[in-house]
Amino acid sequence: MICRITDSAIDMDELTDSLDSPELGGLCTFVGKVRNHSAGQGVTHLEYHAYPEMAEKKMRQVAEEIEERFGVAHLAMAHRVGTLAIGDIAVGIAAASAHRDAAFKACRYAIDRIKQIVPIWKKEYGEDGVAWVEGCAVDAETAEPQKAQNQRV
């Protein structure tokens, strides 16, 4: 199981190779890349910041939730930090199971959940200046997301 914050380029082959096993017939991947626009504005590059120790711990929590919900125990996820250029891979996820349905569900859940509870922050550099993208405030009492905000500060 890979749950990793890294300042190096994400190698999707490494993630998928880590899930190579004769009983796993379905392998689903998600690749999140740096986009050249956000909220109608051009983006030149991004900075990702993390609280690495807590982020990896929360990624392991996501993996546990996936095992409980979908019975999928074969996961690999990596999120990059540092300065990223347009087209760079920011996040990579691979989920494998015997059949495709559970692998698709696990992969989808992993990326959605990472964006809710894993302490990673994105700073956008664009034509209109620089902004922290604040998608999701966590309600500390429940450790679950508050309502959607998607503001920039």
Partner: protein, 83 residues
């Protein structure tokens, strides 16, 4: 007692520090930590509800005890959408 608090993203920018020391009462809770934070850095007052506090790498509610030996951090809203 003095506690050390990690600052990330927006919180790091407005404090200018990776970590800050805050003076809190003995037997303090997360709520006391927030009071001390707002006193020292008034910029937090206006958006305290959007800043989560973690204690030993778990999100922590207002009544959670904080101790000088705990790993504490300020967690501004994270980057993903809530969809």
């Amino acid at each position: 007692m003095k506690v050390r608090v990690k600052c990330f993203a927006w919180a790091k920018e407005v404090t200018g520090e990776d970590e800050i020391d805050l003076e809190v009462p003995e037997s303090a809770t997360v709520a006391d930590l927030r009071n001390s934070l707002a006193e020292r850095f008034p910029v937090f007052s206006g958006r305290m509800e959007s800043i989560a506090v973690s204690v030993n790498q778990e999100f922590a509610g207002e009544g959670t005890p904080v101790d000088a030996g705990d790993e504490l951090a300020l967690i501004p809203p994270i980057s993903g959408g809530c969809a």
